[in-house]
Amino acid sequence: MVEIGHFALVLAFALSLVQSVVPLFGARTGNERLMAVGGPVTVTGFALTALSFMALTTAYMQSDFSVANVWENSHSLKPMLYKFTGTWGNHEGSMLLWVLILTFFGALVAAFGANLPATLRANVLAVQGWIGAAFFLFILTTSNPFARLVPAPIEGRDLNPILQDIGLAVHPPLLYLGYVGFSVCFSFAVAALIEGKIDATWARWVRPWTLAAWVFLTGGIAMGSYWAYYELGWGGFWFWDPVENASFMPWLAGTALLHSAIVMEKRSALKIWTLLLAILTFSLSLLGTFLVRSGVLTSVHAFATDPSRGVFILCILMLFIGGSLALFALRAGSLTAGGMFQPISREGALVLNNLFLTTATATVLIGTLYPLVLEALTGDKISVGAPFFNLTFGALIVPLLLLVPFGPLLAWKRGDIYAAAQRLMMAFGGALIAMLVTVLFIDGATVFAALGIGIAFWLVLGALTDLVLKSGFGKVSGRIALSRLAGLPRSVFGTALAHLGIGLTVLGIVGVVSFEAERILTMKPGETTEIAGRIVRFEGLRPFQGPNFTEDRGRFVLVDAAGKDGAALISSKRFYPARRMPTTEAGIRTMGFSQLYVSLGDELPEGAVVVHMWWKPLVTLIWLGGLVMMLGGAVSLTDRRLRVGAPSRKPTRIADKPKPAAS
């Protein structure tokens, strides 16, 4: 089975070479038969990659330690779920997952791209083939997951204990679906450049892919953030670590792309810029892969710090980013610029959105790479960490957040900013009240906290205002308004939900940053402590034997005002003998949107233990906001015009035409 997997991977590489050349040549010479090769080859390539991936997964699930990769990262006593997810919990396996998802998206384009013009489809598949070929070659030459060991060891070295968590089942696949999903946008952009033709329909074809990738990437980042929060025992949700930034940059650029593609689709403007953004977004995904995989950041987070891999990925990076940008520079001039609009208009607002988002992306990029470049050039060593990013990114993102509610209320072509402001009076009033309440009624509220809460309410209420206005509540009777609300295009709901989600995330961040309470103390069994008005009693430590670990479980009980015992939580310290590694399993109790977070430190004589305890107000909103954003993207994806509105080759009758959007 293992050799079959290896062989399938080699075959998939060979097919990707065919995919790279034949459809492209067909498109150039107008040969339909050659162009038609793209589809079947892409789908077969996906099937072979899937077979290869299954082979590795099987080796993991059977604990076949004759495979070096399995021996290094698995253990026979490991629970089955982690044997399965351990497939991608290492460099080689995660790269295999990467190409699996890449070929999956290629196959989707081949399957659902029947309504695309034949040459565009052929070119898109060819560009996907180039990316695939480069990464197949990378895996086969530098990161082969199928290498055998002779003689086979009896027991494996186990998966890193931190990764033995449900987070590994969800986070990397989601993240890669997002990262790699943007490759489709990239391929469309490069294909358009090759053809030298781009119009509004291009945006309509690309938008669903952008949306889908964005939804997955949002989920991947949110999930990773929550995983870090509960697993690392510090209760931090975002660290501005280079590896985090590597996933955040494509998200920011992808968000900009999502917005500029709307302008292109509806108004045929910003065509060249949208094309550039599509290229940049995937370039940042590739850069992220490079930063993480090559170990160039001398980061302890990279599990591959092999220079040959680094050089290989650097070559891929230069080839694709350099190549596509050169093609862009060559061809962009020949593309026609699109429709006109006044500065104050929906288009204008979306341009402003793009301006802030791309500047924020560039700031994160510069901050991440600056120490590296400075050291290479001058030998000076500096650090750029969270305090820098909080300051600069914060300064850039706050104005954008303030502007968000205006966007959907402005009309296309020429908007009325005063009318929009008037309609937002209620939302503004609500935000002001929230700020006042914060300052007057919450102890220790700073100006920063009040402003942050104000912005969060402004975003949430602004998003709701859009829905209320578009359905005409207050102007027409409630029943008519309700039916209008139900009849609004899905994309309007998508926008409102996504913007509302940002508001929730902001509320969560401000809540936890401004009003968090913390206790660091030594507790003996039976002792109590007070945190944020709650009494918590420590019951003592008890040993427990897990499948492949031992742990000390500390039990904590919340005591109510009457002295009665309430909810309990377990916080533990684990030890994994295979890797001789300890981990902390924080005890978390969710109350409303807030959480009580307890993690254990060193044990002391007489059963006492060092306890680190936090009260984290509204913290869950950070990730719930992410979920709401994802929901918004998903709802928007079901919009009628994306389902049936994509221009088909058949002439449509007038009655079947998609309804124009309500705004």
Binding site: I162, L163, G236, F239, V243, V300
Partner: protein
């Protein structure tokens, strides 16, 4: 931090080299004076743990980070201002210890970039809006004319 599998792991592996897993700030380090302690925490989150990757001394379990935390608290109890504490630590450990680099010649680009990019972008947007007052209407290609003809023809039939 943990954006990729293994990232988390490696962090911990790194930490282990510096003694067992524990929590950054220990009960015995905490100062009696809450105002001083909160200043100490704020300062700690701006100082890098020199032997870790992108961790502040406030988060790190490394011995060196503990030494620095204790040092920060010693200076604060002696009556140093926040700025004096930072100066003192930079004089001993160099600029590398600061997670938020100071504005100087070699960080000019870093600090200047966000604003410069925003302004450049704004100028570029304004420029392109001004120069594109005249609409460019491109003629239909032969292929498009035929397609249009076909659609119109189809409608007339229906």
């Amino acid at each position: 931090m943990r954006k990729f599998p293994g990232i988390v792991a490696a962090t911990l592996a790194g930490m282990l080299a510096f003694g067992g897993i524990a929590h950054a700030v220990q009960p015995d380090e905490v100062l009696k004076n809450p105002a001083l302690e909160s200043r100490a925490r704020a300062l700690s989150s701006e100082l890098r743990c020199m032997v870790c990757q992108n961790q502040s001394i406030d988060q790190s379990d490394a011995d060196l980070a503990r030494d620095l935390r204790v040092l920060v608290r010693e200076r604060l109890t002696k009556g140093d201002s926040d700025e004096q504490v930072l100066d003192y630590i930079v004089s001993r450990y160099g600029e590398f210890v600061l997670l938020k680099p100071r504005l100087s010649l070699h960080t000019l680009l870093l600090w200047g970039a966000p604003l410069a990019l925003l302004l450049c972008g704004a100028v570029a947007v304004l420029y392109s809006v001004r120069t594109r007052r005249v609409a460019e209407v491109s003629a239909l290609s032969e292929q498009e004319k035929q397609a249009l003809e076909a659609i119109l023809h189809d409608d007339r039939k229906a």
